[in-house]
């Protein structure tokens, strides 16, 4: 089994790791003491410590979900995970101050370069905490708050207290409980009324240590009439032992605001990726999740939007790529609570070499939500006979004045498509790569150009050596 796991990550480009030079590393295992220690190190207010402890007990009591992939979930050994690891003295605002080995990692990942070219702000998290953080001066002058979550709590306790857990309470699910108990790092972002942040703001999450648990917590508040595009990327080294990434993301889009949240998750295939992402959209606000799942061993993630105000809009565009030994269980949830709210879900998945991808989605329309529009499209592409794709769509529509569309398709790459492309000088792998990139195009075109190019390159690399 282990041999197989190693083979499966053999081609992973970000699988390198650096020596661990931890300044603080907790022993593995989870207890109230661990949780209290995390809170103490961070010098948190009492109310936060209390929430953490409550959440921990909820986590212990809450059974593991019985849906998704129970077999893989039951394989998680929570006692072998390290819940807090600090690698650097603090969060720096200049790359020169970041410890050399960590800076080298982010250099290899191309983050400082991207920052200079096209980003409005960057936070780089390494293990449990942010090691680098910056925001463009002009954004700061307009009153945009962009901090790592730990600093956010220190500097804006009142805002955090008001919103923390308001969209995703710790009792939402087992993993939101775990995250609330041991959270560390993540982004805190507040966009003032009427401010449009033109350049995307990026967070990059890197796990370096073995058996690491990363539990970042992100809170984004877009005030009335503002807009923001937040982008995150994630990678980890390839180890034969498992790591756990369990984040919680909460978005609040006030009246007429617009939040776009883009993720390209490329964890190595020893990482469990169990993430709760949810946003609340008020009147005429719009929340878009653009969610790409390429890596990890098991991903269970269903970015959700609660359409609370009249005329609010939700858009969830996701792609999943499941290779050997991987299960991508992804989808979306949208709750239409107000009249004339609209939602569009587009989910595309590719399974290869025995990989498994599932679309799991839920759309609810409440009795009061007149004149809603719902569109759900999920397409799956199978690259070989051993791979698997399932769809689990749920629609609960309690108002008959709504327009609901749902389409699902499963297709295979046809021999004639491959032959056509090969007759134009492309090898079988190149041909497969073109078909795969084309299939994901509706997703890729929503990403910033640099991300889209990177994603296409990643997918082409995934196709290498894939043809038997």
């Amino acid at each position: 089994m282990k041999e197989q796991a190693r083979d499966a990550v053999g081609d992973y480009r970000f699988g390198f790791h650096d020596p661990e030079n931890a300044t603080i590393r907790f022993d593995s295992g989870l207890s109230e003491e661990v949780v209290r220690n995390i809170s103490a190190i961070k010098e948190e207010p009492q109310w936060m410590t209390d929430i953490r402890v409550k959440a921990l007990h909820h986590f212990f009591e809450r059974p593991m979900p019985e849906w998704g992939n129970s077999e893989m979930l039951d394989g998680i050994d929570f006692e072998s995970i390290c819940y807090f690891l600090k690698s650097s003295a603090g969060t720096e605002t200049s790359w020169d101050e970041v410890p050399d080995d960590i800076k080298r990692t982010f250099d290899r990942l191309g983050i400082p370069d991207a920052e200079q070219k096209w980003l409005g702000g960057v936070t780089a998290q390494y293990e449990s905490e942010a090691v680098y953080h910056s925001i463009r001066d002009d954004l700061e002058e307009q009153g945009v708050i962009f901090l790592d979550m730990d600093s956010g709590l220190k500097e804006h306790e009142d805002i955090v207290k008001q919103y923390f857990g308001s969209v995703v309470p710790y009792s939402d699910n087992k993993f939101s409980a775990l995250n609330t108990a041991v959270w560390s790092g993540g982004s805190f972002l507040v966009i003032p009324e009427g401010v449009h942040v033109e350049m995307p703001v990026q967070a990059y999450f890197r796990i370096n240590a073995k058996n690491m648990g990363q539990f970042e917590r992100t809170l984004i508040i877009a005030k009335a009439g503002s807009s923001i595009h937040y982008v995150e990327g994630c990678t980890a080294p390839s180890y034969s032992t498992e790591s756990l990434h369990s984040a919680v993301v909460e978005l609040i889009a006030e009246e007429g605001s617009h939040i776009r949240y883009s993720t390209v998750q490329n964890w190595s295939s020893n990482v469990y990726n169990l993430v709760t992402k949810r946003g609340v959209a008020h009147k005429n606000a719009s929340i878009e999740w653009v969610d790409g799942n390429i890596g990890s061993k098991l991903t269970m993630k269903y970015p959700a939007v609660i359409l609370k105000g009249e005329g609010a809009h939700a858009e969830v565009i996701s792609v999943a790529y499941a290779g050997e030994g991987q299960h991508q269980d992804a989808g979306s949830k949208v709750h239409h609570l107000a009249p004339r709210t609209t939602s569009r879900i587009l989910s595309k998945s590719i399974s290869k070499n025995g990989g498994r991808s599932s679309y799991r989605g839920m759309v609810q329309v409440s009795p009061k939500a007149h004149g809603c529009k719902v569109s759900v499209v999920c397409d799956a592409l199978l690259l070989d006979e051993d791979s698997r794709s399932d769809t689990y769509p749920t629609m609960e529509v309690a108002n008959n004045s709504c327009g609901v569309e749902h389409e699902a398709s499963v297709s295979k790459v046809s021999g004639d498509q491959l032959f056509y492309l090969m007759s134009r000088g492309h090898t079988e792998e190149e041909a497969m790569g073109m078909i795969v990139n084309g299939f994901f195009e509706p997703f890729t075109k929503e990403l910033p150009m640099e991300y889209a190019v990177e994603l296409n390159r990643l997918l082409e690399m995934e196709m290498e050596g894939s043809i038997g």
Binding site: Q417, F419, M434, F439
Partner: protein, 254 residues
């Protein structure tokens, strides 16, 4: 004497265990335009697919050499890179892949070191698209996705012009085209034919009005039953195929 571009010697081809080509030989040289005529099911498209290397077709005996090399040694993409081009009767849709990107990548793959720079390629594209009456907006569309029959054939010919093949095989390129498109497409083929060899598969004579084939072959039941010059195409147009039954079968004389 110059090595033929293509030389086929007595090939037999099976599809799903059925023999579809039953002993066929021909040679094509640079500057020649060979037309193969015949009814549906005569094995014409099979020949086109065999030459390009479709995996469903098995050559059970005989040999084919392309530019002097045994064809079976070359993978499909190697045949393309060596200078073989097939204009498909039913071009495949590749959703999400833009025509412009596809053309650029294909030109780079096929022409390799001789490929033009991006700027040169844009010029070449512009010229070829003007010649074929193709609008610029074509480049942003997805390959053959939602294309009309005529648009698909124009894209095939556009690819042919840009890939500068040594040997162009055109499989039923004329089917389903209105007369204006047919004329445009024929102009495209003629411009390629000057510097290469062409194998034009059709079951109508009308494309040949514009193409001036040097050789016309009539194919019936997996074999060439008659070869001649352009006049043979006219004769077939006039008399049909029934007078040309393969040896050993009972033909109905006109």
């Amino acid at each position: 004497m110059v090595t033929p571009l293509l030389s086929i010697e007595d090939i037999h081809v099976d599809v799903d265990g059925n023999q579809v080509i039953k002993g066929l030989s021909m040679e094509i040289r640079k500057g020649e335009v060979h037309a193969i005529m015949g009814r549906n099911g005569a094995g014409k498209s099979t020949l086109a697919h065999v030459l390009m290397g479709h995996p469903d077709y098995e050559v059970t005996s005989g040999s084919v050499r392309f530019l002097g090399r045994p064809l079976e040694e070359l993978e499909v993409w190697e045949r393309a890179r060596a200078g073989m081009f097939l204009s498909f009767q039913y071009p495949q849709a590749i959703p999400g892949v833009q025509v412009g990107t596809f053309l650029r990548k294909s030109v780079q793959a096929v022409r390799g070191d001789d490929a033009p720079s991006n700027k040169e390629l844009r010029m070449e594209m512009k010229k070829a698209m003007e010649a074929l009456g193709v609008d610029r907006s074509f480049l942003a569309r997805y390959v053959n996705d939602g294309f009309s029959g005529g648009e698909k054939k124009r894209l095939e010919i556009l690819q042919m012009l840009l890939l500068t093949p040594e040997l162009a095989i055109l499989d039923e390129t004329d089917s389903g085209l209105d007369i204006d498109t047919l004329r445009t497409v024929a102009t495209g083929i003629n411009s390629v034919a000057e510097n290469s060899g062409c194998l034009v598969i059709t079951h109508y004579q009308r494309l040949l009005d514009y193409l001036k084939p040097t050789h016309v072959h009539v194919m019936i039941d997996g074999a060439i039953v008659m070869t001649g010059g352009p006049e043979l195409a006219l004769e077939v147009e006039e008399k049909g195929y029934d007078w040309l039954q393969p040896t050993g079968t009972t033909g109905v004389l006109p």
